[in-house]
């Protein structure tokens, strides 16, 4: 497993774009490192990867990665990625989404891509807040926590992205955190290898906003919080709900093996003899 300090540079737009925009200590950079190391582990070529993101702090990630990169509109990364994957099925397609981007405005594309089981590896950066716009609550902000639009504490219940993805039909779901950089890398690798819609939820620190509004301290403090509150899925199975109260579960939480969409579509093309171009449009439609 690549832990060498230099492997990532191969994948960075190092000459152009650094230092990046993220706040000092922001976990998004750590997650990006884990993703790039996972790519390195799998020896994936840069030209074989399409990386698509939406809008948010998280959404800036493709700027720094030397793939085919597309920074789309807020919430729509997975829908764009769907068009890319379907029309170029040989590409490794990675969608980078934030908790607001991927689960609030983009929730519908998330569940439908999961249902369709199209081969997109989704990295969900969950910092429990809308970072880019300055700290409004997101669908993963825990009940009672503060945000600029939850000045009296959040009244809403958060999604558990795992349950949502599974309920929608995702093929693979794993979770880790910025503290667990190595585990994150391994899980992303698994997701990249998995055919179908796979999600890796990376718990991240937005100390600048979430941390400040909820008095959870600096980047370092928040990262250490992840250390203290992670429970591996195998260990979690033996714990009571009370013991897991303020914990989050890491590891591969869900795996399935349903047929993948773009593969099915290619098979349909083959079945219809669509590989060789036909000469003339056959024209006939009747609707009674």
């Amino acid at each position: 497993m690549a832990v060498a300090s230099t492997v990532v540079y191969e994948y960075l737009r190092g000459k152009k774009k650094f230092p990046h925009v993220w706040c000092p200590g922001c976990g998004i950079g750590i997650i990006m490192g884990a993703l790039l190391r996972a790519m390195a582990d799998l020896e994936i070529k840069k030209g074989d990867v399409a990386m698509i993101s939406g809008i948010g702090c998280t959404g800036r990630m493709p700027v720094y990665c030397d793939f085919h990169t597309l920074h789309t509109t807020h919430g729509r990364a997975i829908a764009f990625a769907t068009g890319i994957k379907l029309s170029k099925p040989d590409l490794k397609v990675v969608a980078i989404v934030g908790d607001g981007d991927g689960l609030a405005i983009g929730g519908n594309h998330f569940i439908h891509a999961a249902r369709r089981n199209i081969d997109i590896t989704t990295i969900l950066v969950n910092n429990k807040i809308y970072g880019m716009t300055g700290g409004q609550y997101s669908p993963t902000t825990p009940t009672g926590k503060f945000a600029t639009t939850a000045p009296y504490g959040n009244l809403e219940h958060p999604f558990d992205a795992y349950l949502l993805a599974k309920g929608a039909g995702a093929n693979f779901f794993a979770r880790s955190s910025v503290y667990h950089a190595t585990q994150l890398q391994v899980l992303i690798k698994k997701a990249l290898l998995k055919k179908g819609f796979s999600v890796v939820e990376a718990m991240s620190n937005c100390h600048t906003l979430y941390g400040r509004l909820n008095k959870e301290g600096s980047a370092v403090q928040m990262i250490n919080w992840f250390k203290d509150h992670a429970v591996n899925v195998n260990i979690a199975k033996k714990k009571t709900p009370e013991e897991l109260e303020d914990k989050f579960i890491t590891g591969v939480l869900w795996e399935d093996n349903r047929p993948e969409y773009s593969e099915q579509y290619e098979a349909l093309i083959d079945r219809l003899g669509g590989r060789k171009k036909e000469e003339k449009p056959e024209a006939e439609v009747v609707k009674q």
Binding site: K46, V63, H68, H71, T72, A79, G83, S87, D90, N108
Partner: protein, 378 residues
């Protein structure tokens, strides 16, 4: 089933086969009356030809998938009607920003809102130009017969490729569903335009390169070029910029690649203009009605001509100005409460009296209504 490649086609059918003839190999859509047949036909035809069809979860997803496919290298298209077209506006703006060639067909029905799903209208005329936020420069085509729908779809695809710009094709419920004879040309009779591809070494490639034509070559995914694109205002490399000079350069590029080529893009048809001091102005299905009306009126000895924009945007300013040079009366016939008429008001000489022949009750305007307007206003 047919003689000499002559078929009885619905407008939507003609559009679908026009798209295939133009090389469209990706369709992402969501059903909506009266455009659904386009999706249904392409669902059947595309995989047979190695192309891809997908029914997305909504229209936002549809246009997103279309743009994604386009960026990846496909000739991509979607089709919808008013409500779906409204939902597409945000991502449509994105397509303009990243200069993604793609075609959006809007088979217009009565609005606003859910309105009149099975009835005709031309009330998305202005929306086609102004529906998304910010400044952008749509190419909007229209068609007035089933055969025209076939060729205009081909032209839409070609223009989108040529100018690396989304193109909107405005059809309507009557045309989409009506059947007429159409002669399907041989493949080699159809001119196909493909987007410019980069020839520079990959390290040099700027996806939004500033060029004399303002059109930048576009590499597909997996073709050896890696590049970044964003809906944020960006520099030629595709990276976000906050520099005023770069912002202006980008915005000018978007504008100029269209405005400098209006003569190539914008077409119109004229009938009996020379000797007429009354000009009827109409597009799409209404232009046909006007064709009839003009003939009836001329039969009644009115000096009437017809000006028919084939391209709504950029509007054929020059052509209309010329057509109205000697006009003292302009009748603008459209299936709405007055949209294109504002362009005529903008362009007409002061002496020209401008009268609207509007119909917006879900029915096609009749030749008599137009003739009566001519009689009344003259």
């Amino acid at each position: 089933m047919s003689e000499n490649n002559v078929r009885l086609f619905q407008g939507n059918e003609a559009c679908s086969f026009g798209a295939l003839a133009a090389g469209v190999n990706f369709f992402g859509g969501y059903p909506i009356t009266p455009s659904t047949e386009i999706a249904e036909i392409l669902a059947r035809e595309l995989p047979k030809r190695g192309g891809h069809f997908i029914q997305m979860e909504d229209e936002i997803g549809s246009i997103a998938a279309v743009i994604g496919a386009s960026v990846a290298g496909a000739k991509a298209m979607t089709a919808t009607s008013g409500p779906g077209f409204s939902l597409m506006q945000e991502n449509l703006g994105y397509a303009f920003m990243i200069e993604a060639p793609c075609v959006v067909v809007n088979v217009q029905r009565g609005g606003p809102s859910t309105g009149l799903p099975t009835k005709v209208a031309q009330a998305d005329t202005m929306q086609a130009k102004w529906g998304s936020h910010g400044d952008y420069n749509p190419i909007v085509l229209t068609a007035s017969s089933v055969e025209d729908a076939y060729y205009k779809t081909i032209r839409a695809v070609n223009l989108s490729e040529k100018y690396r710009n989304p193109v909107i094709l405005l059809l309507d419920e009557v045309l989409g569903h009506m059947r007429e004879k159409i002669h399907i040309p041989e493949e080699d009779e159809i001119k196909i335009v493909n987007r410019l591809k980069p020839t520079v070494p990959p390290e040099w490639y700027q996806p939004f390169e500033i060029t004399p034509t303002h059109i930048s070559p576009m590499a597909g995914y997996g073709e050896g070029y890696r590049f970044h694109m964003t809906g944020l205002t960006h520099d030629p490399w595709g990276f976000p910029t906050a520099k005023s000079s770069e912002i202006k350069e980008k915005m000018d590029k978007l504008m100029l690649k269209i405005s400098q080529n209006v003569d190539d893009i914008s077409t119109y048809k004229e009938e009996f203009i020379e000797d007429s001091h009354i000009i009827v102005i109409a597009y799409g299905i209404t232009a046909r009605v006007a064709q009839q009306a003009v003939r009836i009126a001329r039969h009644k000895r009115f000096k009437v001509g017809l000006f028919q924009p084939e391209t709504l945007w950029p509007f054929p300013d020059k052509g209309l100005k010329k057509a109205l040079e000697n006009a003292n009366l302009a009748i603008v016939a459209e299936l709405n409460q007055g949209q294109m008429i504002r362009e005529v008001q903008r362009l007409a000489p002061k002496k020209t009296k401008i009268v609207g022949a509007f119909r917006y009750d879900g029915e096609l305007i009749t030749p008599d209504e137009i003739v009566n307007k001519i009689k009344e206003a003259n």
